[in-house]
């Protein structure tokens, strides 16, 4: 059956758990291209280089009935005490899902949170904005 997807079909999961109150997310893949044009050619040619993934998301800062805040496991990758900074284990497993009835269209990756901002403004809901950089290969791709 023909179908267009809307924001209502989108789900962002972290570690297999759906994050509540996600306002938007975006995932980008990019491919570095390496030029191979030689001196006797007039048209540029390339070979594929290294591919990568990055993106961003915005979440409403939200505490559920059990007192769990939805952004905790994301923000704590950057907002932390101590002098150790970010370590190689500070990754998150993110799943970007578009739901079609019983079917899930997923892209899953491991990523570092590269920026996280949160603030407050009069008359506005508190939001957390994160950006991430994927590391390694995608572990799941069921989107076509």
């Amino acid at each position: 059956m023909a179908k267009v997807y809307t924001g209502r079909d989108g789900v962002l999961q972290q570690g297999g758990t759906t994050l509540a109150k996600v306002v938007n997310f975006q995932l980008s893949s990019n491919l570095e291209t390496l030029e191979t044009t030689t001196l006797n050619e007039n048209i540029r040619s390339y070979v594929p280089g290294v591919a990568g993934y990055s993106g961003s998301a915005t979440l409403l800062y939200y505490k559920d009935d059990s007192g769990i805040i939805n952004t905790t496991n994301v923000l704590n990758k950057l907002y932390k005490t101590g002098t150790d900074g970010v370590s190689s284990s500070d990754t998150v497993e993110l799943t970007f899902r578009w739901i079609d009835g019983a079917d899930n269209n997923d892209i899953k990756l491991t990523a570092y949170i590269t920026s996280a901002s949160i603030g407050a403004a009069t008359g506005d809901i508190v939001r957390a904005e994160i950006a991430f950089q994927g590391t390694g290969a995608l572990s799941t791709v069921t989107i076509s």
Binding site: T37, L39, N40, V47
Partner: protein, 127 residues
């Protein structure tokens, strides 16, 4: 094994000079003595960006075959090293002046990604 027949992605050429010795007299006048009839010391720099490692290896093998900077070799007859040059082929060569090339230094190989490398070779024309 001949010098690899690949078209470079960039090339620079210095045309060398005739063996000239210059003296300056006390009154400031310059005197030049020509010691030879052949131009020499041409410098040819060839860069091969993003080629396969197999092709990059050809330069390393050739460098080894000519014993590094020791032996000379001819590349003047190859169209590939002058690819893209629309002028007289002799103008950016060394052979027409009786020169052969030798490596000025080892080929520089930079790994770009798995299986892809960039190679730069610097050659100098010698009599």
């Amino acid at each position: 094994m001949a010098f690899p027949s690949l078209v470079p992605t960039s090339r620079s050429f210095e045309s060398g000079d005739y063996p000239v010795k210059t003296f300056k007299a006390q009154n400031g006048k310059e005197h030049r003595i020509l010691y030879g009839s052949n131009r020499t010391n041409m410098k040819l720099s060839l860069s091969y960006a993003n080629i396969t490692d197999a092709n990059a290896e050809l330069f390393l093998d050739h460098y080894d075959e000519v014993q590094g900077t020791f032996q000379t070799f001819i590349i003047g007859g190859l169209e590939e090293s002058r690819g893209g040059w629309k002028g007289n082929k002799d103008a950016i060569g060394a052979g027409s002046h009786g020169n052969n090339y030798r490596y000025e230094g080892p080929p520089q190989v930079a790994q770009v990604r798995p299986g892809i490398s960039t190679v730069t070779v610097n050659l100098i024309g010698v009599l």
